[in-house]
Structure formats: C-alpha cells, structure tokens
Amino acid sequence: MIALLDLGIGNLSSVQSGFARAGGETVIVPSGEAWAHLLAGGAPIEGLVLPGVGAFGDAMFQLRTSGLLPVVRQMARDGKPVLGICLGMQLLLSISEEHGSHVGLGIIPGTVTRFPSTVKVPHMGWNNLVQVAHHPLLRDIKPGDYVYFVHSYRAQLQNEKHLLAAADYNGITVPAVIGKDNILGTQFHPEKSGRVGEVILRNFVQICIAAQVAEGRAPR
C-alpha cells in the first residue's frame, strides 16, 4: 500500500485515481496522528507519495503543522521508496525562492528558482523527456515520450548525478525526473500524463514491491 500525504490542497484524488489505474493501492494520510494510527493498525506501507499543487512555503508549513514532516524523514531514512510529484518533488530540495526564501526538506541538494521572464511562465503543457540515466522509474519510457508539466519554478540540482531525465523549454533545461537512492521526484504530473504517466506510476508501484522483497518481506 502506498501512502499519499494530504497537504490540504492539491489534486490528491487525481493522484489516487492515477495509481488505481496503474494497479497501485493507496491510502490518504492527512496527519502524523493518522500515520501513527495506520502503523499501529499494521497497515503495510510500502512507499510514500508527496503530491503537490500550490505554493512551496505553504506546503512546508502544512508538512510541519500536520506532523507529516517526520513521516517523510522516517520513510526516507528507512530506505522506503518516496516519490515527490511537481511541488512535492521541489519540496525534496534544499531551498526555494518561491515568494521569498523557504527551506525545503534538503534530501536532494539543490534550489528551486523561478523561470526567467524570457519564456512564458508557467511552463505549461506537454514536453518530451530526455532520459539521462537508466532507472527503474523510467522503465519502458521511450525517447521523446511526452508528459504534462505545469509549473513556474524549476529545480537546480547541486549534483548532476541526481538528474534522471530532463526536458527542454526554449533552451532552458528543466529537471523532469530526479532521484537519489530511494528518493524520487517528477516535475511533471504522471497522473495527468496519459499512457506515459501511467507507465511511470506503475513503475513506482513495482519499485515499492521490489523494496519490500529486498527487505526480505514477501510482497502482499
């Protein structure tokens, strides 16, 4: 079962429907208390998704006040697969310049900056992925496959090795898929990216199952 963190805003139902289409069972977790309750009930949580629509500062505030921040840290430390989507991916980085300066989770080193005004902002629509590294999350993704982006800020990674796939927006490189060990992120919305997005969500489900097996626990 994959836990979807509920930060109060955003398209949680879309993400949930997306996983349902991709064959992944999900549970929505609105708070640290709900999380504790789930664990106490013996829920088999195999992975975590940090969805996100909205503003960076508000989302970090929500993570803190809802008691979900330690949940993300715990899962990250335990080596469980974590997937940040859109703003959720940006939250994994160190600092964002969205409406001021905000500290992020700092799990993947890098900053989040606004697109320059030389391009239309948001970067909105379908853009093709340029894969720069092999990763199970990108299994069966073909060169040039299109995914749906909608964002005004982009990641700037400190370490290039965390870049798995990029997109080109009028000459600006957009980190589209990032990853560091068990921590993964997509700048685009896989749940809104048609067939290609469905493949990526299915891959994440597989990654969660594989992690269970590696831990020596039988997948359900």
């Binding site: 902002v121 629509g125 379908w126 299109y146």
Partner: protein, 257 residues
C-alpha cells in the same frame, strides 16, 4: 520541446453535453460527457475543458458529479469553468477533480478573486476566460460578460494583462464574433493578447476545419487551440487535426503506442 495543445471543450448543462451555435441560441444535445471525454483522450486530446452552463443549483451539482467522474476516468488535465464567482466555487471544483478552474464574469466583477485563488491554490490552476468582441465604437476588442450578453467597456488586452498581474496562469480567449461561425479563429485578437501577456493563451471560437488550427497556432501565436462542435459532431477529429499540424511542422504531442 514544449508542444502546442489541442483542447476539446464541452458545454455541460445539468450533466449533459450540449452544443450551441453562437453564445445564445440553437442548443443541441451532444452526448454523455464521460464517454466523450474518454473518446477525446484516446484520440489524442492534450487537455479537456468543461464549461458548466447550468443555471440552477441542482444543475451545478449534476455537473460537479460529471467533473468527478471525468477526473477519475481520464488521465489528461481537466479545466472546469462556468459561473465561478467565489473562492469556495474554485475550491469545490478543485476538490471534485479539476486541475484548473476557469473564471470569467466572476473575475471581471471581482478581480481579487484571481489573486486569492492564485495565492491559495497556485497560479497554475487559475485560468481567466475572456470573451472579446470587436466594438466598432471603441475601435478595439471589448470584454463581454455573462455569456456575451453584457459589454463591459473594458479593452481585452488591458484586461488580459491585469488578469495576469493578479495571478492568472493562463488565458482562455474566445472571440465572440467568430464563435460558432466555423470560419476560423480570430487571428488578430489572438495575436494581440498572446503578444501582450507572458502566460499561455488558449484560442477559442471559430474552428471549422483543421487548417484553422494551424493558422491560430502559427500566425495567431496561440499556445493552444480549443474547439467544441467540430469535434462533437465528428466533422474532423483530433487525430486529423494533429496529423495535419505534425505534417506542417508544428510541435505537437504524438503518441506512437
């Protein structure tokens, strides 16, 4: 490379898709919204826009159910608008599963709504729809509200710029004089607005054949093109439009699976 988008639009009245010529007259039933949404998505639609034209509270609730169903079954972005006047309307539609909410009359009457929605939910989900009509007296395009019934005296480009300053993440621009004519999009209007704002512009109104899409996405400088009736009644398909664009070298999303 970012691609140009082809967006079918439905008008939904009390839970059914309807099609009308011009803003006001000649309504015809055009089918079940969920079935249509799936068909368009399969044919390669890049997004869907659903406009709620129900007048009653009951009709609106029926439409919210449609939004929920479409959002559950379709894996491309969904914009919903129609009668959005308060921040609670925006929230309700997002909760029902809309990815973006389009506001028109409500935003003209209360521009703060744009700002508040952008602040609360992010500018990427705020679409400001502008219905514009060439006003001979003004000599410019005038913003119309209430489905084109009322002129505001406001100039379309000025309003588009203001809407973007307030936080609109996208402009859905409909030419009142072209809408329903099938004679082509309003290229001068689209170009004026697209050149004036730094957010994507969806051109709407007047699509009659595949060549019109090419014109508005190149000469008209639109980022996306929207049409309703020509797709509903299968005069051309999204596939045909996209094949044409692809042939002519316009960057579009092409699924090869």
């Amino acid at each position: 490379m970012l691609t140009k988008r082809i967006i079918p639009c439905f008008d939904v009245l009390d839970g059914r898709v309807v099609k009308h010529v011009g803003f006001l007259e000649n309504r015809r039933d055009a089918g079940d919204p969920v079935a249509l949404a799936k068909r368009y998505s399969d044919e390669g639609a890049d997004e869907l826009v659903l406009l709620d034209i129900s007048a009653s509270e009951e009709g609106r609730l029926a439409t919210h159910r449609v939004v929920e169903e479409v959002a559950q079954q379709v894996n491309i972005p969904l914009t919903v608008g129609g009668g959005v006047a308060t921040i609670d309307d925006v929230r309700a539609l997002l909760l029902a599963g809309a990815d973006k909410v389009s506001m028109n009359t409500g935003a003209v009457r209360n521009p703060q709504l744009i700002k508040e929605a952008a602040h609360r939910f992010g500018e990427q989900c705020v679409v400001v729809a502008i219905d514009a009509n060439l006003n001979q007296t003004m000599g410019t395009y005038e913003v119309m509200i209430q489905g084109g019934k009322i002129g505001t005296g406001m100039e379309a480009v000025t309003w588009a710029k203001k809407a973007v300053d307030m936080g609109a993440g996208e402009i859905l621009l409909t030419s009142f004089r072209q809408d329903g004519t099938r004679e082509g999009f309003d290229l001068p209007l689209t170009r004026l607005v697209a050149a004036a704002v730094n957010v994507p512009v969806i051109a709407s109104g007047g699509a009659g054949k595949k060549e019109h899409f090419f014109d508005v996405l190149t000469e008209g400088q639109a980022d996306a093109a929207l049409a309703a009736s020509i797709f509903h009644f299968e005069e051309t398909s999204i596939f045909q439009v996209k094949s044409h664009l692809r042939q002519k070298g316009v960057p579009i999303r092409w699924e090869t699976a």
